[in-house]
Symmetry: C2
Subunit: 140 residues, 2 copies
């Protein structure tokens, strides 16, 4: 991944190393402010603007992607680990859908519309099993 940067005439600075390390070590997604906080713990003085610029840069190169979850944009390693986020609007529980599973959704939409969906970009909101039962009791 360092190579991706070098090939573009970009530099591998200590700050970038730290930011990359933090995102790679974070399982799943992480928000820019969270990245900033964590990086600053290990490397005080790193500025938030550097974090934002680096995240945008790494996304531009294709190393990272961002997705929109309930709390806002979150970054994650691009590629292999991609998956669809499902979050319960009632209790906040999170679950994932593999790309294989999402593929069935994709085909369904393509059958109706001339549109190629990317379900990894926005989360899918809804009710988890437990909350569904609970809500049913209250509402009905």
């Amino acid at each position: 991944m360092l190579r991706s940067l070098r090939d573009r005439g970009l530099r591998m600075t200590p700050q970038r190393r730290a930011i990359v390390a933090e995102i790679m070590s974070a399982e799943g997604h992480i928000s820019p402010p969270a990245v900033a906080r964590r990086v600053q713990e290990r490397m005080p003085g790193v500025n938030a603007s550097t974090v934002y610029r680096t995240l945008a840069l790494l996304e531009g190169v294709g190393l990272l992607s961002h997705a929109h979850l309930e709390r806002g944009a979150e970054y994650h390693r691009a590629g292999e680990g991609d998956h669809v986020h499902m979050s319960c609007s009632r209790c906040g529980a999170e679950d994932d859908l593999s790309l294989e599973e999402a593929d069935a959704l994709r085909r369904l939409i393509e059958a109706h519309r001339d549109f190629l969906p990317d379900f990894t970009h926005f989360a899918i909101s809804g009710l988890c099993g437990d909350c569904r039962k609970a809500a049913g009791r209250v509402t009905a």
Copy 2:
């Protein structure tokens, strides 16, 4: 709808009337700052904080819902008109999916997971037909 408020011991003020009117007249979704701007055109002096408080209130009562689109949260009348937003990540084109169409997606997810998705809450990102062809030419 005024009744929904009265029944809760809530008051129908001119500001609320204006805010409700603005959202109901807006086809589709509208962001809080946009609501504020429009309301202030007709009723100068209405404060943004009033708009935010009112939107939250109306959502709590069930009159409004908000959805997350590419540009952030947007409010819309709850109920009937609900639909799924699909937006092209390349050109920004928007298209909708009816709830009937979305129902097929729902069933698919329910078949795999114990999760009841609400596709109206987050948009679905992807490539529209035109951009898909265009992107295909470039990438492939």
